[in-house]
């Protein structure tokens, strides 16, 4: 029972972590809470759905198509709605992000209707594996595996490549990085691209897991993923992974203990409690306050 719930929690948590990474990376670089990120995830789920239903492709190919589509969308949104506001107050950029979010979810509602849609059957043949008393579906294992692979590749990109170095420099100090000859605009676009790709992968995986894709799935998932990013310490990549997993596991545990009607509150209750004890999140860096 315990093991079963743990796997359920980790599978759900890894999808939260995939979305949370986008929030945390963007925040780390331009300190913007990108509220449109949840909608990118929703778009990813829809593109994956159409790729499997209409193009009849393998779901891995569908995931790749969704990732490419969302990369384009994410970079486009940054270009149109955030770049003109980079020099103005952070709240203006925040409202702009919220505007994009409303725009995208309404557009999805108009194009795809208000009903939730499911992935076509047999896209991923689900088998149940019994280990001890626990029944684990191959889909859950797949979600955990794909998330792990994506996160490890992200770590590799951020720490071992030249563009990763540029990203870290930009998040350390935007102006100095620009003075050192880093093309800051390109780095920011790249960050949005990475975050959007991860969100799209998360969208396709969640679409498979719950077998439901709808225009308003981005809002709650986005808020929870944002909570996960803050829980782990916003701006910190390992923090987002940890926060996502923690939220997933506690949420599943809460439902297992019979508080299913409080499901959406559990994530936020944990968040508030952790912030009260550790105001910068679990792995966040301490902010030096100066006059």
């Amino acid at each position: 029972m315990f093991f079963q719930q743990l796997i359920n929690g980790i599978a759900l948590g890894s999808t939260y972590a995939l979305i949370a990474l986008g929030y945390t990376m963007v925040y780390g670089i331009i300190t913007l809470i990108n509220f449109a990120h949840g909608e990118i995830y929703m778009v990813g789920a829809f593109v994956g759905l159409f790729a499997t239903a209409i193009l009849k492709v393998n779901f891995l190919v569908a995931m790749l198509i969704a990732m490419v589509a969302c990369v384009l969308l994410g970079v486009f949104v940054e270009r149109v709605a955030y770049r003109p506001l980079r020099k103005s107050s952070r709240l203006s950029a925040l409202i702009s992000a919220i505007g994009v979010s409303i725009f995208l979810s309404t557009l999805a509602q108009m194009l795809f209707g208000a009903n939730a849609k499911g992935y076509p059957e047999g896209v991923f043949p689900v088998k149940q594996i019994t280990i001890g008393s626990a029944e684990i579906s191959t889909l859950q294992l797949l979600i955990i595996a794909i998330s792990a692979i994506l996160m490890i590749s992200l770590e590799f990109i951020v720490h071992k490549t030249k563009i990763g170095k540029a990203m870290r420099a930009t998040s350390e100090d935007y102006n100095t990085a620009a003075l050192m000859g880093i093309n800051v605009n390109m780095v920011i676009s790249f960050t949005f691209a990475l975050g959007s790709a991860l969100a799209a992968a998360g969208g396709v995986l969640v679409g498979l897991l719950f077998n439901a894709v709808s225009f308003n799935m981005g809002l709650m998932a986005g808020l929870k993923a944002f909570a996960a990013a803050v829980l782990g310490g916003i701006g910190s990549i390992p923090g987002a992974m940890l926060g996502g997993l923690l939220l997933g596991v506690t949420e599943v545990a809460g439902v297992a203990f019979g508080y299913s009607s409080y499901r959406d509150a559990i994530a936020f209750a944990i968040l508030v409690l952790v912030l009260l004890v550790k105001p910068t999140g679990l792995l966040g860096r301490k902010i030096q306050k100066k006059v």
Binding site: L91, S96, G99, L223, A265, L271, V272, V291
Partner: protein, 317 residues
């Protein structure tokens, strides 16, 4: 008197009357958030939660106690303010985006709790009986609007308001000047919640039906957009922002399904072309005084200042 007012309102198209009331409630809510976010600089993404607390408190007071409406609103305001102080005391130690996400979290928690309580009728929502007053509701709403504008203008120019502005400017410097930062933050939070509670109470009785899901994240965002659009910290801005954004969905109604699409696009465009809000750098009182010739133009003051500085510079060299 109530009958006379009622018959006068009868001449207004009910549809326009509804928009007018919505604008009024929007202004009350925006003024409340403006105290917290605009004046004190604490970003709150959960203002709708206080509206929700106010709406349900007021509805329950009408159902269970049957107090007169004016007393009801006052009591609702104080209960909401007390709730805000209780929530604010621990979380206002946080700063910046951590505070923002905490207020968001609290708003979601309040929503889920109300969805599970018997007294709020769970997910079915509550039908609110008519308010115990002879004065028609639209008039009450606009009386409250006038009171709220007067009151917040008073707060802006008071000692209390200056302390809040100091907290917004720099918390550590404010503390060094002897301002008890946490106390002022909690007070401004409670003040904002008071107005949100009253606005919620009016909303509940005007609509006649409330559901916890009406006061979700999007409602909070709506209120925040009003004050950012109008210009943070400006009362005139809050009023204009609230008027535009409360009325916009109605005037966009002819576009039917495209309505929210345009609304989202509108938010982006307005931010790009007026990043500091419509009234961000304009002080309405100054503007009036200047047109009346009672106060010199800002430009003249700046010229005066720059000539002063150049003189001191020469002295130094």
């Amino acid at each position: 008197m109530g009958d006379v007012l009622q018959s006068m309102l009868g001449y207004i198209n009910p549809y326009y009357l509804q928009i007018i009331v919505n604008v009024g409630i929007g202004i009350i809510l925006a003024l409340g958030l403006n105290v917290v976010t605009g004046l004190t600089g604490q970003l709150s993404l959960g203002h709708a939660a206080f509206m929700s607390i106010g709406a349900f408190t007021s509805a329950i007071i009408t159902i269970k106690l049957g107090l007169p409406f004016s007393l009801n609103l006052l009591l609702t305001g104080f209960i909401t303010a007390a709730a805000a102080a209780l929530i604010g005391l621990p979380i206002l130690r946080l700063t910046g985006d951590y505070l923002a996400i905490c207020t968001l979290g609290f708003a979601e928690i309040v929503k889920v709790i109300f969805l599970n309580l018997d007294i709020t009728n769970r997910a079915l929502g509550l039908s609110v009986p008519a308010a115990h007053t002879t004065i028609p509701l639209p008039v009450v709403v606009w009386v409250v609007v006038v009171l709220a504008v007067t009151f917040t203008t008073f707060v802006h120019n008071s000692r209390f308001g200056r302390a809040l502005k100091a907290v917004r400017g720099d918390e550590i410097a404010a503390e060094a000047m002897g301002i008890n930062v946490t106390r002022y933050k909690v007070q401004s939070f409670a003040l904002g919640a008071f107005l949100a509670g009253v606005g919620g109470g009016l909303y509940a009785h005007f609509m006649g039906y409330i559901n916890p899901s009406d006061f979700g994240f999007l409602k909070s965002v709506d209120i925040l957009s009003m004050i950012v659009l109008g210009g943070l910290g400006s009362i005139t801005g809050s009023v204009i922002g609230a008027t535009i954004l409360s009325a916009a969905p109605e005037f966009l109604r002819f576009m039917a399904t495209y309505r929210m699409l345009v609304y989202g696009g509108l938010l982006v465009c307005m931010m790009i072309f007026r990043p500091n809000g419509l009234m961000g750098s304009i002080n309405f009182t100054d503007l009036v005084l200047r047109t009346l010739g009672r106060k010199p133009h800002l430009k003249k003051i700046m010229e005066q200042k720059s000539s002063d500085t150049s003189r001191t510079d020469n002295g130094n060299s």
